[in-house]
């Protein structure tokens, strides 16, 4: 949904998005890293509809994802780190296996 401004100097690092290795700039947050590939990051608890980051400032909680095995992490508030494992969160339960980016 988003892209980096052309010419922005960056170092790339490898992270795992739904178990798929992807290269992302090392100076962005998890929410931004997701938005480079996808417009959504979870399916809601109530109706199962897809949602993506909405406020980017920690207020809406629509960016809940699983980070390194911990559920309900606000993606827009955490920087990416090499080797980080990010999983889309589907409903209240654990990450479902069929979910890919």
């Amino acid at each position: 949904m988003f892209k980096r401004i052309t010419g922005t100097e960056t170092t790339l690092i490898e992270i795992f998005l739904n178990d798929v290795p992807v290269m992302v700039p090392d100076d962005i947050n998890v929410g931004a890293a997701i938005l480079l590939r996808s417009s959504y990051c979870r399916k809601t608890v109530v109706s199962g509809s897809p949602r993506g980051p909405f406020c980017m400032m920690g207020a809406c909680f629509d960016c809940f994802v699983e980070i390194n095995g911990k559920m309900n992490q606000q993606a827009c508030l955490q920087q990416v780190e090499a080797g980080m494992r990010i999983g889309f969160q589907v409903g209240p339960a654990n990450l479902s296996a069929e979910e890919t980016c």
Binding site: R4, N29, Y40, V46, C55, F61
Partner: protein, 461 residues
Amino acid sequence: MERYPLVVIGAGPAGMAAASVAAEYDLEVLLLDDQASPGGQIYRNVSRASADLRSEILGREYYEGLTQVDEFLRSKINYSPASTVWDIDTERHVCYLRNNRSYQVSAEHLILACGSQERPMPFPGWDLPGVMMAGAAQILLKSQAMLPASEPVLAGSGPLLLLLAAQYLNAGLRVQGIVDTTPKSRYLESIRYLPGAMTAPRPLFKGLSLLKQIRNAGIPLYRGASNLLASGDSQVRQLSFHCAGKRHRIDTQIVLPHQGVVPQLQLVKLAGCELTYLHRQQSWSATVDKYGEGSVENTYIAGDGQQINGAELAVIAGKMSGLQVLRKLEKIDLSTFERRVKPLIKAKNKIEKARRFIDAIFRPSEELNTPSDDTMICRCEEITAGAVREIAKLGCQGPNQVKAFGRCGMGPCQGRFCESTVAALIAEVQDRCISEVGYYRVRPPIKPITLGQLGNAVIES
């Protein structure tokens, strides 16, 4: 528990100004802010952004913020970045989270400078992926150097919408159109505030120059638009709306809505401070005296977190609160206080007067305040406006009761994105004034914290 004569929360223009003025007189200040670097919303990431982004894309005003940030970083302040305050109480005990650990400090004086959040803008489809607040998209530009991957549509009203369109143009990205929901009547209503706006005309001229830039670029501006609908299956594909007597449809993958900002009042509520409903801004504000002191003694609220007045006034308000703290602690005498405060009061009056025009012209439309029954208004619990109207018909007195009846506002955002709509709907159904309807109570923690982090808490110094 560590005790500070002054704790400031927020490193935006207001908080930086308050802390800087206190540090001038060697007061020991602890400043807590949840971002990695100082600047707040307006100057987010300014000390780290690339030179190109700073000067070519984001514009002069952003670049100028660097001066304030540099001055702040040079002063002797105990500045704690990446520190999220999750609770405070009426005795000014402050709990915050840093590096996975919770800390508690006690403040003799407390200045809350937590700024604003975007006003929710509910319309059918605003929950679809691809729809994101315009301010959020601007945060992505400022702090992540990111642009929409395809041409977005901007929708709503307010200065930030025009600013973002212009910043995108500077970055070489066109927006497909600006769907302007400002009702036509607002222009007439705001004319009488125009002379006042001329007393501090910078925002007005800035707005006009942004508009000119957008016009010259040939970007379609759909004025007086209503009945917005974002549609798509698992992702937005189209935005449709009424404008000039017909239905328009724009195919797009990115819709960026915005209709102004409102104060973030969670910590103000927890501190036990009273709120006042401000009809002209259609939002609650923190009740304060001339120097920003709230209804609880030694607790101050400054900047957009008190009421929306913009960055220039946030600096003034921050300084005034800082000076009042210094006076109370006898770090400055009365004559120094008066000498320093006088020009600030004068500037404040001017800016406040000018603000009336912006408030009047960008007052959100009735339709977006009390949306159609099928519009989801609580994004967390997925409750529609229709469901809230039904509960209100049963006689629920206020947002807290609606929450208990229908879960609206009970999700993780704690009502940040539905509070104003719920109150407006109750007021509409029961034909009451929104100021009587009230607001959600907040309960700590206002930011998520795990039991592990709590278990690790550092309370003793």
